[in-house]
């Protein structure tokens, strides 16, 4: 059996949950077994996980806020109950806080940030990017039980069926030792780690007052905004927008880098993006080596032109 734990911040299932179930479904098919999805706490509409291949959806009520100790205990108990040999979770802040705990509880081998289905032709091998995307490693998990967290934006959710009923997981939920006082999330925009389209700008912007053209571009595209580190360090942009080795690592479908030189520490957080567009006035900027599409020019002329072009495109499509 494959067990998929789907995180549900503020009671909502997100794309990462559907991706994890899609992964679990495909892995289960390859292993000749079935997939069970597990949600913890009060979750809206958990039965929808059936659409992505979950034959059964279980819910463990009683753990409303996140405590990695409590959640790991519940996941491990359910895994044992249903005889799961593989446990899958999203590679988000929740999944990453749980993976190691669940692995210890189940005496399982664990790999985080997995980007391929298991290859079982010689053992149980999964791939993951390491060294800031400069290498790929094949890990072989030798233990009977395996715990995996799945890299985001890698396995697009696929609908294969319909909603299923949600059953009680029927396990004890231990008392939490973590008291959650406050949860605040930015409303209205897709958080960076989940964003499919990202518009990012750096020191080439010269002044925080110039960000209007960036916000406009992001608005036309429905994209999330990001920035380079120096720009966040001097307070031109909020810290949560800082991408790179020491900021958020992202892998959107489209990353537009504007007035960013493409230092290796910046690339470390964005080079997994599927398509990279670079706008820079310096033809020698290192970012062009990582770009799919490059525009050499002054961003203060190019970006307004791009805004017009996108407006035109959106109106026609």
């Amino acid at each position: 059996m494959v067990l998929v734990y789907t995180s549900s911040p503020e009671g909502q299932l997100k794309k990462s949950a559907f991706e994890a179930v899609t992964y679990g479904y495909k892995a289960a098919q390859a292993l000749g077994t079935e997939v069970v999805a597990l949600t913890i706490g009060n979750v809206d509409n958990a039965g929808v996980l059936g659409q992505y291949g979950a034959g059964k959806v279980l819910n463990a009520a009683g753990a409303e806020s996140f405590d990695s100790g409590v959640h790991a205990a519940v996941i491990a108990k359910v895994a044992e109950q249903i005889g799961a040999s593989v446990v899958v979770m999203p590679d988000d802040s929740t999944g990453k806080s749980l993976l190691g705990r669940v692995a210890v509880r189940l005496d399982a081998g664990a790999v985080s940030g997995v980007k391929t289905l298991p290859d079982t032709s010689a053992g149980f091998v999964v791939k993951k990017n390491v060294f800031s995307g400069k290498a790929i490693v094949d890990y072989n998990i030798n233990s009977d039980k395996k715990v995996l967290s799945i890299a985001g934006n890698t396995f697009p959710p696929e609908v294969v069926g319909g909603d299923v009923a949600v059953d009680a997981a029927g396990v004890d939920v231990p008392a939490s030792r973590v008291r959650v006082k406050e949860v605040s999330t930015v409303k209205g925009t897709v958080p960076l780690p989940e964003a499919e389209l990202v518009v990012s700008a750096g020191r080439g912007m010269k002044d925080p007052g110039n960000w209007g053209i960036i916000d406009e571009l992001a608005g036309h595209l429905g994209a999330t905004t990001a920035c380079s580190r120096p720009v966040a360090d001097v307070g031109w942009r909020p810290h949560h927008e800082h991408v790179g080795q020491t900021g958020v690592a992202i892998r959107p479908n489209l990353y537009i880098a504007i007035g960013i030189s493409g230092a290796i520490q910046h690339l470390a957080g964005v080079n997994q993006s599927k398509t990279i567009v670079v706008i820079n006035k310096d033809p020698e900027a290192p970012f062009f080596k990582a770009a799919d599409y490059g525009i050499v020019g002054d961003l203060f002329e190019v970006v307004p032109r791009l805004n017009e072009a996108i407006k035109k495109f959106k109106a026609a499509n």
């Binding site: 664990a110 010689a122 400069k134 006082k181 897709v190 989940e194 489209l254």
Partner: protein, 247 residues
């Protein structure tokens, strides 16, 4: 308070990556190592600040070979009181490392065990959670702010698209993200003193490995950049739509 900070070494980001032994090992020849930034800048410094404010000791722990002593001495130079190195081979798994740390942490009965949120080479983010489970401690990951009153900590942590504020009592484990503290550069006095501080080398406990590296590979070559005339943004939009299929 007794504070334990887990520190690891990692290749500098600018390192050229190559492999040895039929692509089954990372080639360490000529690699420049640094202390993992999350461990050094945030976890260690926050532990030192806490000690300065409330008294106690800061011990660092590393699992690895004598080649790691330079990085460990840097931690002592920044201000840790003493260091433990569990003498282990280069290529042990995260589980192996976690087991060794848990063993020492248990023996030392620490109030807080600090980790960086992840290492910048393997980005595993697993060891903190593993050690916390082995010690049966609460684990607060991605911490960006921590205040302590008595034995209760109030911690802000990063979550997807926001922040969460939690309260937890010692003992607990915490993983440090940007914001938890400000980087400190060791001064001459610190560097001199570090030479005389204790670095205790301890043999590892036996662990059976659960995950092994089958092979390493370089990513596929990126195709050349397609340059587009800065005057012709309609062309870019067209390519993003019909070629890249991202809009």
């Amino acid at each position: 308070m007794k504070l334990l900070v887990c520190v690891s070494k990692t290749p500098d980001t600018t390192t050229k990556i190559s492999f040895a032994n039929n692509d089954t090992e990372f080639n360490t020849q000529g690699v420049q190592y640094i202390m993992n930034p999350y461990d050094e800048w945030y976890a260690l410094v926050r532990a030192l600040e806490l000690k300065e404010a409330t008294g106690g000791t800061v011990t660092t722990i590393n699992v690895g070979s004598a080649a790691n002593d330079t990085v460990i001495r840097k931690g002592l130079a920044i201000g840790a009181d003493d260091a433990i190195r569990v003498d282990a081979p280069e290529n042990c798994s995260t589980y192996y490392v976690a087991r060794q740390i848990a063993e020492q942490a248990k023996a030392g009965a620490y109030d807080i065990v600090f980790f960086g949120k992840e290492t910048i080479d393997y980005n595993g983010a697993q060891i903190g959670a593993m050690v916390a489970e082995m010690l049966d401690m609460p684990f607060i990951s991605y911490a960006t702010k921590m205040d302590i009153a008595g034995n209760t900590a109030t911690i802000s942590r990063d979550i997807e698209g926001g922040q969460e504020i939690v309260e937890v009592d010692t003992p607990f484990a915490i993983s440090a993200a940007k914001g938890l503290a400000e980087q400190r550069i060791p001064n001459m006095r610190g560097i001199m003193m570090a030479k005389r501080k204790p670095l205790n080398v301890i043999p590892p406990v036996d662990v059976s490995e659960k995950v092994s590296v089958a092979s390493y590979a370089l990513p596929p070559e990126k195709k050349d950049c397609h340059y587009i005339d800065a005057e012709d943004m309609d062309k870019l939009v067209e390519l993003l739509h019909s070629e890249a299929k991202v809009i």
